[in-house]
């Protein structure tokens, strides 16, 4: 019954005082730190019980002293366990974008503003179970990196994070939940696909296609009927059934449009985005200038990390509000 109640998410939210994601630095107030005896604590309690009975039975005054000292130790341990977590200040750092299928690296900064150290603080991401144990020196800031699997493209919010400690005696378990406002951009999973041919596009000018150089080999792309047979990668063709054309970069001035419309009509949205993301990577690697054209958005051809990031972000957030 209790377990069922505790399992209820809404009830748990109410009990732990659910908060919307918090911005900026979060300091764990005393009231946000919960504490219960750990399993070892129950063992310890049982030991104390036996010691007490023994002391009474043998009228052992030093036995009483020992029992009470250990009882005091448990009590003090409880306060110290709370202290190890209370008033700890946390802030979330930037999480670098990742591709779907990778792990988002969320960074949390644990700022120990106390004059004592806070050893053995466990930081655990509730949803994924990613965790890390940190020792904080007095006045120090430590970084916890939580590797949260990024499954879908778009914004991945850092959901609830649990901080837990059993220091100093392991008899009590103190914990607190936080939900800092932090999110990670997840790009679509890139599909390793040959780049499209630079097409004679009405707007961009067909002449650009001719500018594709033939001095430096840069990769393979799908065969187009107008390709010269000299550029067909015959060795690769021998290994697979696709006709592939060798592509040469040398001319920096190649301009490429990665166009949603020109993808095979049978693909669904996610497959298209994956293909396009793969193309963006390949194009950036190849050194070409490339533009991205989505149904409601176009990014003019350019290159460089910022451009690449802008294109991938557009793909990541396509269709999400």
């Amino acid at each position: 019954m209790i377990r069922a109640l505790l399992g209820d998410a809404r009830l748990r939210d109410w009990f732990y005082g659910y908060r919307a994601p918090e911005r900026g630095a979060i300091t764990l107030g005393q009231r946000r730190v919960y504490i219960v005896p750990a399993r070892l604590g129950w063992f310890y309690g049982a030991t104390l019980g036996i010691l007490l009975i023994g002391s009474i039975n043998y009228a052992l005054q030093l036995g009483f002293a020992l029992t009470f000292l250990l009882a005091g130790l448990g009590l003090v341990g409880m306060v110290h366990t709370t202290r190890n977590l209370a008033r700890l200040t946390l802030s979330a750092g930037r999480a670098e974008p990742v591709f779907a299928g990778e792990a988002a690296q969320f960074r949390l900064y644990l700022d120990n503003r106390a004059r004592y150290d806070r050893p053995a603080i466990l930081v655990r991401h509730q949803a994924s179970g990613a965790q890390m144990v940190l020792d904080l020196a007095p006045g120090a800031v430590a970084e916890a990196v939580l590797a949260v699997p990024a499954v879908r493209r778009g914004w991945l919010p850092l959901t609830r994070v649990m901080l837990e400690t059993r220091f100093p005696l392991g008899l009590f378990r103190a914990w607190s939940y936080i939900e800092p406002e932090a999110r990670c951009l997840v790009y679509p999973r890139p599909e390793r696909a040959p780049l499209p041919a630079p097409t004679p596009d009405a707007d961009a000018g067909a002449a650009r296609a001719q500018a594709l150089g033939s001095d430096d080999f840069s990769g393979l792309r799908a065969y187009q009927p107008q390709d010269s047979p000299r550029h067909v990668a015959w060795k690769a063709v021998a290994r697979s059934d696709d006709m592939l054309t060798k592509q040469f970069a040398g001319a920096a001035g190649i301009e490429l449009w990665l166009d949603w419309q020109r993808l095979a009509p049978g693909l669904d949205t996610e497959q298209r985005l994956s293909r396009l993301a793969g193309w963006v990577l390949a194009a950036e690697q190849g050194g070409a200038r490339y533009g991205l054209r989505l149904p409601a958005l176009a990014i003019a051809p350019d290159r460089g990390d910022a451009h690449r990031a802008a294109c991938l972000q557009a793909l990541a957030l396509y269709g999400t509000a």
């Binding site: 036995g63 005091g72 053995a120 965790q131 990196v145």
Partner: protein, 654 residues
Amino acid sequence: MSAPHPLAPEQRAVAPRDLAGLLASLLLVAAPHALRMPWWLTLLVLGLYAWRTRIALERSAPPSPWLVLGLALLAVAAVYLEYRTLFGRTSGIVLLVLFSGLKLAEMRTHRDAAVVAFLCYFLVMTNLLYTQSIPTALLMALALLVVTGTLVGLAAPQRPAAANLRSAGLLLAHAAPAALILFLLFPRVQGPLWGLPQDAYSGLTGLSDTMTPGALSQLAQSDAIAFRAEFEGEPPPPRERYWRGPVLWDFDGRTWRMGPGWLQRFEAPQGGGRYDYTVTLEPHNRTWLFALESVARLPVRARYTNDGMVVAFSPVRSRLRYDAASLARTEPAPFEHPDSLRRALALPESGNARARALAADWRRPAQSDLQVLQRAVEFFRDSRLGYTLEPPLLGRDTVDEFLFDTREGFCEHFASAFVFLMRAAGVPARVVTGYQGGEVNYVDRIISVRQSDAHAWAEVHLAGRGWVRVDPTAAAVPGRVDAGMARAVRAGDPVPLLMRPQLEWLRGLRSNWEALAHRWNVWVLGYGAERQRDLMSRIGMRDADWRKLTAAMAAILGAFTLVLLVWSLRRLARPDPVQRAWQAFCRKLGAHGVARAPHEGPRDYAERAAARLPGAAASIRAIAALYIGARYGRAPAPARAAELARRVRELQLA
């Protein structure tokens, strides 16, 4: 600090450092037991420790549960073989020591390690069952520190061991006030909750209810304390310190026995030379209590027998403190029950013919019992009998052999022979055992009476006078009652080390130590139900029953926890240096007319201030930039906080 670790401490395997801590803990708590265990069991325990150490060094797997179970059964068998029982106190503890070694050998997880640490706490307690002396308490306090440090180490595996030990010290220091509250206020219950093992009190020594030749001289070779006495005012001189114990009536030619006595209403005698004193009696597992002759006031919860013994309701199994008063001189109490007088004349049918003949010689010319007594005392004074701790063994006629052949004995020989002679001469007499003398500790003026002060003397019943004490040893060896046993016995006798006259300086040291030990015994070890009631009434809590005590305990303990919590918060409440510096900056600018509006962000505020105070514009902007960097930067560094604080301090606003 140390690098982050992916696993919580309780999920990790037991590290070598934890093992070292546990080994140190176990060695500390098991060492006193090792002295009481047979050597081969000690070796077995050490073998288990060594085994585990080897497992750790070789990084091999701990033994399988089946092997451990087998070893546990073997340990049980070994203990049974040695002690013939599993449920005695000693055998139970030895079993616990063995099991803790086994648990150490087989431990795998973090929790196993913590259980070993808890077992160590338990073993600390088992040591206290044997002795609660100050050295034991200190050793066990050290053990507590090490065990607690190990437990802290288990919870913080990456922290240096020294820091963990410091934490353990801090925790124990914080726990001490709570322990004191509990110790003083936890309601004490009288007596055991259930029957104790048979051997629970086997170690207790003292006078016995019988006396055979050689018994007292054996006992007198121990300088263990029998009891201590604190006098109000001056104590009596040594020769008057006869501490009366068991009275022995029945003699079978070799052994004197107490025989059946009965309780009697106590009537305080009249007389002079009153002494009031408090006795702290070490447990001796007998009912009798010791008091100076003659008792004028009975201790509470004590009774009186027909032969003047003071007895408790139950055997004294823990240190007992009682008040009593005695008179040095009393009015004659001539009445004695005829049955008692008959018993005081009984002798074995035969044996000790020479002694009987001697007694008949004394009787014939005497006109009264008193004259017989005088003859006897003269005989003992002039016979040059030797006083020794190593009396020769006696055969069948113990009295004859002592008086006429070996002519050497300890006080039991003197008392036995004297009472025999008296009875043979028709004078009612009995043997009294107890202690004679005792040493005044010059530190606290308390008299320590040791087993080496054990003594036996005689009481003779004279018509018109009643029972009169006669000490044949004092008659033969006057030094015994004036200067103590150690100076009276033959040179070369096995006198307890510290009783030897030549070790004066060592005795001075011991006096200090024993004064401390006595206070420890009275205030710590003697803190039972009675003392608790006393203390509570002294601080104003009348009739402290368990309800009142528990309520007071809970209230004070709660207050203590609150204080501790506030203390820990106080240490936390300090704002961080960045915020402090920024607040100082805002105050400084506010003093020059640029107070920060609540909604104003640092950048806007700095711009406004720079515009108002153009002379310091560059510094103001730099400080704001530093603050923003430190506060909202990716990783605020302490160095930046220091820089900010310095800049704010040096900021000049004309």
